[in-house]
């Protein structure tokens, strides 16, 4: 049977049906609607005011590619300027190819690109070095945990280097929904409480962050990239298969088959949760080393790096680490039920950085 006619232009055959409204649209009309929705998300949330210098977390992947492309289209209307910031975690055979894609994009779009490397920022610790250091600890996901925290910090540094006033990342609705599921599955009330909303205001001196694509379903992001013929890098991080997020992702895919709006509904629910008084996290203080927002004496990044430097990487993310205060077991792998997170903003696995790999 032939596809129905486009609901918008009534001229072309429809290419897809939108999950939320059920409307059938042709390729060009869908792209127009997609861009209009991103614009609305930004304007309604006052996410990027006129004059903002916006650092776009760019990984070369589908989401950040679509994000950068759409924001570039909207930039004149919004009155903002864009800078691409890419993070080089030092993952051989993976990140180099992805960075090549980002460089092609920067050239094609004529946007300035800054690459920040873990090796430079974190005293030589590339992800490959971290993975070797944490190998055989019985926790194969450990390196992903480090990466999430460090990438967030690296993106912040890169944004400051380019004089940005705001950071944007390409998290889509499916990413947000997976994060909600992960937090529920791990009993992480603290992250559930902080995970919602359109972005973080930027506490403790951190730059404000937001996710203009967070109401867009992953499927629509991919279709947008297809209809706009955008070139992106589509391989999985070599360390990703072990990460916990995969379980949440598989569950979400099953749910979406039955209910296409599942991702958006999950995020909707999480945003309307009220925590029981006993579950609410205490107000955070400042890291004794770097001054960033922290719930313990050291922020997550400093705590993890500290552990690596001592040659005891496992201790930084396990229990009973020396030098920590008595608040309880540290760290992101796995976070115990009432563990207050030491960095503000995005929730577990959703580190606010450019790449939404299947990390913790």
């Amino acid at each position: 049977m032939p596809a129905p006619q486009c609901f918008s232009c009534h001229a072309a055959r429809a290419a897809l049906r939108r999950p939320r409204s059920g409307q059938a649209l042709c390729g060009p009309c869908f792209c127009t609607a997609f861009e209009a929705e991103v614009l609305h998300t930004v304007l309604a949330g006052r996410l990027l005011p006129p004059g903002a210098v916006v650092a776009v977390g760019a990984s070369g992947g589908k989401d950040s590619t679509v994000l950068a492309h759409v924001l570039r289209e909207l930039a004149p209307q919004l009155g903002v300027s864009l800078r691409l910031v890419a993070v080089d975690e030092g993952i051989g055979g993976y990140r180099d190819a992805a960075l090549a894609a980002v460089r092609r994009q920067a050239a094609r779009w004529d946007l300035p690109l800054t690459v920040v490397a873990y090796a430079d920022l974190f005293g030589g610790w590339t992800m490959d070095a971290v993975a070797r250091s944490t190998a055989g600890t019985g926790r194969s996901r450990a390196c992903c945990t480090f990466c999430g925290v460090l990438r967030r910090r690296a993106l912040e540094e890169g944004a400051r280097l380019v004089g940005a006033t705001h950071i944007v990342t390409g998290h889509n609705a499916d990413d947000m929904a997976e994060t909600v599921l992960m937090n529920f599955l791990r009993g992480d009330a603290g992250r559930l409480a902080r995970g919602g909303g359109l972005g973080s205001r930027g506490e403790g001196g951190a730059l404000p962050r937001c996710r203009p694509l967070q109401l867009a379903s992953q499927k629509e992001v991919v279709l947008y990239a297809h209809f706009r013929r955008l070139d992106y890098f589509s391989e999985e991080c070599v360390y990703a298969p072990e990460a916990f997020r995969g379980h949440a992702r598989d569950l979400l895919k099953l749910l979406e088959a039955a209910r296409p709006s599942a991702a958006l509904d999950l995020v909707h629910s999480a945003e309307r949760l009220a925590l029981a008084p006993a579950a609410r996290p205490p107000p955070p203080g400042a890291c004794s080393r770097c001054g960033a927002l922290a719930s313990r004496s050291l922020c997550q990044a400093c705590a993890l790096l500290d552990g690596l430097q001592r040659g005891q990487p496992r201790l930084a993310i396990g229990k009973g680490r020396g030098g920590r205060d008595k608040e309880g077991p540290p760290g992101p792998l796995p976070p115990p039920p009432s563990d207050p997170e030491s960095a503000p903003g995005p929730a577990a696995g959703e580190c606010g950085a450019a790449c939404k790999e299947r990390c913790e």
Partner: protein
């Protein structure tokens, strides 16, 4: 008796890695009793094109959730999904969404 069909099968978004990295395949489907539908094509692809790890592409008699199917640039949801009857010179594109962005 359905005549042989000539279709283009394309893989993107990383799915091509399961097919020796080759994105576009010109395929001739042999004549058979019943008309060719997508369901049959998937069986054929699994048997003749898929080089490794079939569970990353196929689940049951359909594609793995997270793999989009476009027939002549339209979402297969609009065209009957597995029951869509293939026509000569159709173009079927499988895009994987299952990786970081």
């Amino acid at each position: 008796m359905a005549a042989p069909l000539s279709v283009e099968v394309e893989f993107g978004g990383g799915a091509e890695l399961l097919f020796d990295g080759v994105k576009k395949h010109q395929v001739t489907l042999p004549g058979q009793e019943e008309p060719w539908v997508i369901r049959d094509l998937l069986v054929w692809i699994k048997k003749n094109l898929l080089k490794e790890r079939p569970e990353l592409f196929i689940q049951g008699d359909s594609v793995r959730p997270g793999i989009l199917v476009l027939i002549n640039d339209a979402d297969w949801e609009l065209l009957g999904e597995l029951d869509y009857q293939l026509q000569d010179q159709d173009s079927i594109l499988f895009i994987s969404t299952l990786h970081g962005g």
